[in-house]
């Protein structure tokens, strides 16, 4: 994946450059807005990492100019936290994601990969399967495997599992799950979701992956 890194602090820039390169990304970097615009045009990056406070042309302007120029490259904005409305400004101006400084390096890498995948998906490439522990779910078919053994799941259980595996360790609200598991059924009782959870939990019992209930809120899946 080709990254354009626009960041004015030299220490931050060289550290990020090294870290991202080590993770197999190809990194071009620059420290001011004017050069960023030129580099963006020339190197055709897959994802742009953009610091907002730049000398000369500031980050938001770089972004707006690039978008006016028709560049559809996914952009992740980095900036100092604490100013009201930063987030809104960032996303309204055509950015795809936003990470306040200071951030976790792993978080940055994960977000960059997600943006890169999103760009790929637009090119009709099949997505990677979802994985938690020994569990794997194919995105297109919804087929679930535990160490290459197919798990026999009803369509509702499969829908539930896929929804939860989208963000492992993160709870999904039960209202949202209900919509995903019972998409077109109006007269199903709200509690029906609990039955599906109960059955899925039993089927996952031997996998080491557990399905946790946050009562009144939702469910999550995690590698125990």
């Amino acid at each position: 994946m080709k990254i354009l890194l626009v960041e004015d602090d030299p220490t931050m820039r060289s550290t990020l450059e090294r870290a991202l390169s080590r993770r197999g990304m190809q990194v071009d970097s620059c420290g001011d807005g004017a050069r960023a615009i030129a580099a963006w045009r020339e190197s055709e990056p897959d994802v742009v990492v953009l610091d907002l406070s730049l000398p000369g042309v500031d980050g938001l302007e770089v972004l707006q100019q690039a978008r006016r120029g028709g560049a559809g490259t996914p952009v992740l904005i980095l900036t100092a936290r604490g100013t009201v409305g930063d987030r809104v400004i960032g996303l309204n101006s055509g950015a795809d994601d936003y990470l306040p400084k200071p951030f976790d390096l792993d978080e940055l890498v994960a977000r960059l990969q997600a943006l890169g995948r999103r760009a790929e998906a637009r090119g009709d490439k099949p997505g990677d399967p979802l994985r938690v522990g020994g569990l794997r779910v194919e995105k297109d078919s919804g087929a679930a495997y535990f160490r290459d053994q197919v798990l026999e799941l009803t369509p509702r259980e499969a829908a539930l599992l896929q929804a939860l595996m989208g963000r492992p360790g993160h709870a999904v609200a039960k209202e949202k799950l209900f919509e995903l598991v019972f998409p077109d059924e109006a007269d199903v009782q709200y509690e029906a979701i609990e039955v599906v959870v109960y059955r899925l939990r039993k089927k996952l019992a031997h996998t080491g992956v557990s399905l946790m209930t946050l009562r009144g809120l939702g469910y999550l899946i995690k590698d125990a």
Partner: protein, 469 residues
């Protein structure tokens, strides 16, 4: 921009304009009165001279056939001339206007006799022209009788107006001088009094201007007039509040610097120790990472505190459903709940609260974060919401060790030592500030049964937004 009203100008104009107006009216009426008095006096002299002429008339024949004769020596009139510039002229005529004696150029009187109570005789006074000069004329209808006749004579005596005019002008000038002097004296007194009256105000503003930048001590104004005391009091109250605020900020900055130095000191020690090879590099870096994490949390929390203050000053907060915000924060923090395998439960109900969304989610995030941190792995943690007509109570009930009674009040202060267990010591201070900004209350109560502490209930009570909102 509107120009500031000058009290001094207002007072001066307020006093002087009416006074000057009154004096102008007074002058005009004084002059009119003087003029009337002068006219009356001179008219009387004119009448007297007419009477002298009238007495020297002779007549022959009766009534319509009467023939008047006059022998008026000029000396008879000379006695009535006031000075040598003022001349007297006369004319004696019959009732029909036939000239008998005197100056023919003096036009005959063709008026009507007015009712003049002051004069018993048949008399009138009027202005006319004689030899291109304005004259005042007295006319007297004098019955004349003799041994062989009886008739009516019209005696006119005219006097040039020169003397009257001179006198009137003199009176006018005298009056104006006197009134002008009066105005000048009043203006001087008014200016002096107003200036003197304003002196405490000027002195007070001088005192305030001369202050050094950080001087917030109360103003001492022992000689300020009673009218200024409310202003002095109000200013002193503002000063006191500012001083308190400034003290708080100074303490906050001092504490912050101290708090930020601590992780830096730890970091330095960790780095030097690692450089010496005391620990494995990986172990050292993990420890350093923890320290940096602590400093980051602290910096973020300080920004949050500043943001509460900033949002508090923004009017017109929208209405948000607290339940929705609490649920989304719980979803956001669900990985922490999952990591600790907590026995989690949440029960919410719709509660419209007027607030910036950030305040409510920051409040919830801090309290839930604390509750998760203090609940032992596998322990119970519940979020409850109760509403009544006017308020909503949001409770985070953990199953942690609770808090010591002595600490409870101090926990909401920034960097209170008791909160050290929860990290930087700003989380509860942020909550306290947010709740205060929203007009609510926050309390921490240990939940106990049979003398054993089961956990801590952190409860926030906030006013509900009005229904029309």
């Amino acid at each position: 921009m509107k120009r500031a009203v000058s009290l001094q100008r207002y007072l001066l104009l307020g006093i002087l304009l009416p006074v000057i107006g009154l004096i102008v009216i007074n002058t005009v009426s004084l002059y009119a009165q003087a003029l009337a008095a002068v006219n009356t006096a001179y008219d009387r002299t004119l009448l007297a001279s007419a009477k002298v002429i009238g007495e020297q008339l002779d007549v022959e024949g009766y009534d319509d056939e009467s023939e008047l004769r006059a022998t008026v020596p000029y000396s008879a009139l000379e006695a009535f001339e006031a000075d040598n510039r003022s001349r007297l002229f006369y004319r004696v005529s019959s009732l029909g206007g036939e000239m008998v004696s005197g100056f023919a150029e003096l036009p005959f009187w063709r008026g009507k006799l007015p009712q003049r109570p002051p004069y018993a005789a048949l008399v009138d006074f009027y202005n006319d022209r004689f030899r291109d000069e304005e004259v005042r004329v007295a006319v007297l209808l004098q019955p004349v009788a003799s041994l062989n006749g009886r008739g009516m004579a019209v005696v006119q005596v005219a006097e040039t107006l020169h003397l009257r005019r001179t006198l009137a002008r003199q009176i006018l000038i005298d009056t104006i001088w006197r009134q002008a002097l009066l105005v000048a004296v009043i203006a001087l007194v008014a200016v002096l009094v107003v200036q003197r009256g304003m002196r405490p105000v000027r002195r007070l503003s001088g005192q305030l201007k001369a202050r050094t930048e950080g001087d917030l001590t109360p103003i001492a104004a022992p000689d300020a007039p009673r009218e200024l005391l409310p202003l002095v009091d109000a200013t002193n109250q503002v000063m006191t509040r500012l001083a308190l605020l400034l003290d708080n900020q100074k303490r906050f900055v001092r504490d912050t610097a101290h708090q930020l130095r601590t992780p830096l000191a730890v970091l330095k020690t960790q780095v030097q120790s690692a450089l010496h090879g005391d620990v494995e590099p990986r172990q050292a870096l993990l420890e350093i990472n923890d320290t940096v994490e602590r400093a980051t949390v602290l910096a973020n929390q300080m920004l949050s505190l500043a943001k509460v203050e900033q949002l508090r000053q923004q009017p017109d907060a929208p209405v948000h459903d607290l339940a929705e915000i609490v649920r989304s924060v719980a979803l956001e923090l669900s990985p922490l709940i999952a990591d600790a395998d907590l026995d989690f439960e949440i029960a919410t109900r719709t509660a419209p609260v007027r607030s910036h969304e950030w305040m409510l989610s920051e409040l919830t995030r801090n309290l839930l974060h604390n509750a998760i941190k203090h609940t032992p792995a596998g322990g119970a943690l519940s979020i409850r919401m109760l509403t009544d007509a006017n308020s909503v109570a949001l409770t985070f009930a953990d199953s942690g060790p609770g808090i010591a009674d002595g600490l409870r009040a101090r926990l909401f202060q920034p960097f209170s030592p008791g909160d050290a267990r929860s990290g930087s010591g700003l989380g509860l201070a942020i909550c306290h500030e947010i709740v205060r900004a929203l007009g609510g209350i926050i309390s921490l109560e240990n939940r106990a049964a049979r003398g054993r502490i089961l956990g801590l209930d952190a409860t926030v009570r906030l006013p509900l937004a009005d229904n029309e909102g």
